[in-house]
Amino acid sequence: MNDSNSLSAVRAAAAQDKIPVTVLTGYLGAGKTTLLNRILSEPHGKRYAVIVNEFGEIGIDNELIVGADEEVFEMNNGCICCTVRGDLIRIIEGLMKRKGSFDAIIVETTGLADPAPVAQTFFVDQDVQNLARLDAVVTVADAKWLAARLRDAPEAKNQIAFADVIVLNKTDLVSPAELREVEGRIRAINPYAKLHRAERCNVAIADVLERKAFDLDRIMEIEPDFLEVDDHDHDHHDHDHHHHDHAHGHGLKHYHDEHMQSISVRLDGDVDPGKFMPWINELTQAQGPNILRCKGIVAFADDPKRFVFQGVHMMLDGEPQREWKADEKRESKVVFIGRDLKEEDIRKGFLACAA
């Protein structure tokens, strides 16, 4: 990990000037292409550069469409989980030669793709970082089949864990109870993603694109323990004996996934950057392979600005964001989504960073 990727090298560059990039993931058959065609065919007045795997599937005549090869490369930086999409670096380099002729980039990944290399490309490659910013990872999930895929396809679980926005598609094909079940499964893995129910991917474009999901305010608002599904159907059946299900009744259904979980730690008051920076760097170096995503908003002592960061595996990127508002409580929160995370260590570690 070189300096430009670590928190020690905080980039104050205005992110607004960078081209927003939406990464579209989802397991085979979930409806990615349907969503993409919908985005491209709506009269939104925006020009998108679209990077796809399969040319033929896009039915819309879009001026800027390019086929990608999904070439995943390891970086020679001694970090085993640090993989990037070499083809994406090349394509974005090419797109910048026609900067100004498009407003945003959409990257569609294959159904079996791990989202990590795509996301890491935006942390690792300096040229890409200078030109583009990851706006959101949008995962399309099939309401009928997702629960089964979460059991048998690690890719599907990764895609849910990575998401900033989840489009739960084909909700017309399941019963309210099944819908509640699958939403519970999703929330057990990733309680922070914005979830939209859809039929034939009929979500509002604004719910999917230009989300600035990485401004991260959602993580402050959400406490996973109080997440609920807005539906009052009672369901006490446990369909999956590999998981521990707790049906709390009255529509509140709570699952724990055995391996993938999210951990959030809130700290009232200020954080000492001299303690926090080494802690987060060491944690992501040591636990990086297991940490799929991390995000946080941190109040540094004597700093009028909120410090925000996000990461993928061992890659971290952070910068001072807007100032804390006068009526806003100065507090810090970090969120980790990953496999077999050591919750108690992370909790103690972060709380020990108090100023």
Binding site: N2, D69, E71, N76, G86, G94, R98, Q126
Partner: protein, 333 residues
Amino acid sequence: MTEPTSSLTKNVQFFDAGAHVTAVGFLDEAPVFALGDGVAVLGEPGSANRIAAHPGGAILSAVSDGKLLVTGGDDGRVVATSADGAMREIAHEKGRWIDALAMRAGNVAWGAGREVRVRDSAGAVKAYSAPTTVRGLCFMPKGYRLALSHYNGVSLWFPNAAASPSLLEWKGSHLDVVASPDGRFVVSSMQENSLHGWRISDARNMRMSGYPKKSRSLSWSHDGHWLATSGADACIVWPFRDKDGPMGKAPRECGVRAAKVSQVAFHPRTLVVAVGYEDGFILLCRLGDAAEILVREPRVGDGAVTALIWDAIGARLAFGLDSGGAGLLTLPA
């Protein structure tokens, strides 16, 4: 050239080419600017022709041998433009981007993803499918042989031989590739802000590292003894004269500034290197004593220097910026 404060700014004609300048060249005497909006601007500033080489597309790559400008577009086309403005389509790879090109002695090679094709001066086309996407191409100086850079190394391919290409292996993603004029060395730029070199005779590896950025512009001196490179706060020049090349030697640095070097171009007859920076600044540096001459200072709205080349005799220097600015330096007679 001994006064570091001396300036050639009055000898520069600057104009707005209209789009990102991908590459520059000279066709006979005429400067040509290949642009990100698919246009090639051919001729003297003020009276140039705008040639739509890739209508609706972008020129992603361009090379010139002084007679033809060959451009590769995101429309999948390879187009040759001559000094009279006549265009000819050499290839059309539907749905692909042509972002790697090479040219020598009438032979043209292009890359579209993993597929590489080479067309000899008689028009015969040969194809090779590389293990991964080919990022860089260059012809070796001797024989009909092509170097292709890709993930985990550089392949050397004789298009007319049945044998599979020989691989110069080194882990990582290799971007651009160049061969020394005497054919003894091949050097690639890498994703990890370094250069990697091989001595062809024994495939011995050499690593040239320490760059704060990727080094994407590489230029050999006319005598082949030096390789000028971009990617640092100065032009980094590696010595290749000895049989071991730069192994165990420190590079020269010239044109140190508080901005990164984005383009370098050695003069075709003397040991002077033109150095373009990310802020639009351009200098000439003499290797012997590091004397500097100012070519241009940045103006408001300038972007990085993205293209820089001398004409065949070294009388004029053409340049282009990512903001669409372009220009021509004419050295005093």
